[in-house]
Amino acid sequence: MTEVAPQERDELKFKDSQVRESGSPPHGRGPARGEPGPGAPIHSGITAERPEGWNRPALIQPSGDGELLEVAMGPHHPSTHGVFRMDVALDGERVIRLRPVFGYLHRNHEKIAEGVSYLASMPYTDRLDYICPMTNNWAYALAVEKLTGQEVPERAEYLRVILGELTRFQNHASSIGFLIQEMGASGTPLMYAFREREKILDLFESLTGARMMVNYMRFGGCRVDASPAWLDETRKVVAGLPEFVDEFDRLLSSNEILMARTQGVGVLKADLAVNAGVTGPMLRASGVNYDIRKVDGYGIYNRINFRVPLGDHGDVYDRFMIRLLEMRESITILTQALKDIPAGPVMDPKAKLRGFRPKPGEAYGRIEAPKGELGFYLISDGGPNPYRYRIRPPSLINLTVLEDMCLGHDVADVVLIFGSVDIVLGEVDR
């Protein structure tokens, strides 16, 4: 510790107070949008003002009779999908303010990745969004391939698409299952989804050796080749998927309770969604046609015929419906990819597993993960490990509009709206 002379200390204090008096807080980032700072009760600074141009819903004024109630939902709340806290200010049952609090599952992934080789971060990416490890692997492999300029063989690209779409299918199935569970139908719909997910996880296990922590993709290809028996088994599973989606559709989409609970609830306007950087099914449910599979055409997606379902209202029901329709599109992608998959190597013969040093530079690899745009931003300084390793997690950024969707709704709807965002805390907190 360095000692500071008394007069210098006074000077520091003076500078600090000057900054504060001039209006901007010392860190350059104050409590955003007139929100109270950490520790302050969140209903103390409620005003009816909101910044212009964002189309954020207006704040709701408390009705005036009775006191506001501040409830901490979470971090151990069954609806929070992990350890996540929502500090909610309630006027009766109505939500007046909502503040998301995260960081309970922070694992220092980005900093760890800067200290280990490029390869050693691959198994850690499995643990980001642990529901869909394959797409995490893919995004990271894509970023490193961009950085080093590696090519991926044809067969590996097909395998990546097959595995990515299987992942999307099981993610959407289980996220719908969780959504219905949060509506109060505990168990059954989720177990229907998990029955299908189990088949897909079995495929992953027989190919990669692990159900969830697959660690499958490598820079310049995939780790092991899929045997013809595995491909046959996959074709068999994929042939059974439409039946499952039909069943889900028949049981849920026109269900009266589901419609009553979800239609018109948690509306997210298209311009707010775009401004907030929301991506994935949530953005498309608001009616914005933006799918990175179409925009970037990474991998072999520009060779495959599929449609991008779009919503109209941006409410919870639309988000549910988009996931259901995307499951159907995933099946058409899977059938095409499984039909066309060529023979050949799955690994670039020039690719090195370890001990490679990319040239100084930067790369951003992004894919359309089941939850939205998943990007890895890497800066290399020519060393064996990245100089900077940054993840753009879709879950975290989709979560930022939670308050805007929840204002004015009941507490029970907050749980539902939160479920419709479809997050995994492993990815939010990293």
């Binding site: 050693a120 971060s121 296990e205 027989s206 990669t208 050796g209 922590m213």
Partner: protein, 207 residues
């Protein structure tokens, strides 16, 4: 008719109830400790060290003599959670190709830290470390019991063949190729030396 719907519903329930005892598709429960599902060939849990039973350098116990590991410490360096600890030996022992190599004086894996990522297996140039499928590893001692040393990790090549047959066959083929190459080099070297010797005028009485 009054109650027709209920009867229909109950008929469906009864069908499902009976079906849950007889339909093979729905009898999915496995009574675990008694019944087991066979592991997939690709299954991986924690790493183990492979040793060759036919390779015997005199004076060593069987598992230590045949150990393929040469303590190059690549896996230690590449392991993401850094759960491997290797200490290189001072002296050398003969490996399967008859070449003097270092061996691990200590090789510890802390399986409470290991995350089963298989990177040690991929980076090993000597096919010395492979993934085991043994998952029932509970122990009373959560520190010492989960820190496996060289002897606990060493398993024969036959065991590897048993759990990953096609991988093991491939590895054996690759190793045999390497051995044949090494042998060819040795014999070529011996031949060249013999020719050189033959070309020189004999000096000793023994020639």
């Amino acid at each position: 008719m009054l109650g027709e719907g209920i009867l229909k519903g109950m008929a469906e329930t009864a069908k499902n109830f009976v079906g849950s005892f007889f339909s093979a598709q729905r009898l999915t429960t496995v009574q675990y400790p008694e019944q087991r599902i066979a592991a997939y060939e690709a299954a991986r849990v924690f790493p183990f060290l492979v040793y060759d039973t036919e390779n015997r350098d005199g004076g060593w116990p069987e598992w230590e003599a045949g150990l393929r590991c040469v303590a190059c410490q690549i896996c230690e360096k590449e392991c993401p959670p850094k759960c491997i600890f290797i200490e290189k030996s001072k002296d050398k022992k003969l490996d399967a190709n008859g070449k003097a190599q270092f061996y691990p004086a200590r090789f510890d894996i802390d399986i409470s830290v290991c995350m089963s990522c298989q990177i040690c297996v991929e980076v090993c140039p000597f096919e010395a470390i492979k993934m085991d499928t043994q998952f029932e590893l509970s122990t009373e001692d959560r520190f010492g019991g989960l820190l496996l040393d060289c002897k606990q990790l060493a398993k024969p090549n036959e065991y590897y063949h048993q759990i990953h047959p096609s991988d093991a066959a491939e590895v054996d083929g690759r190793l045999a190729e390497g051995r044949a190459k090494a042998d060819a080099k040795v014999t070529a070297g011996a031949l060249a030396a013999a020719q050189k010797k033959a070309a020189e005028p004999p000096t000793g009485a023994g020639n």
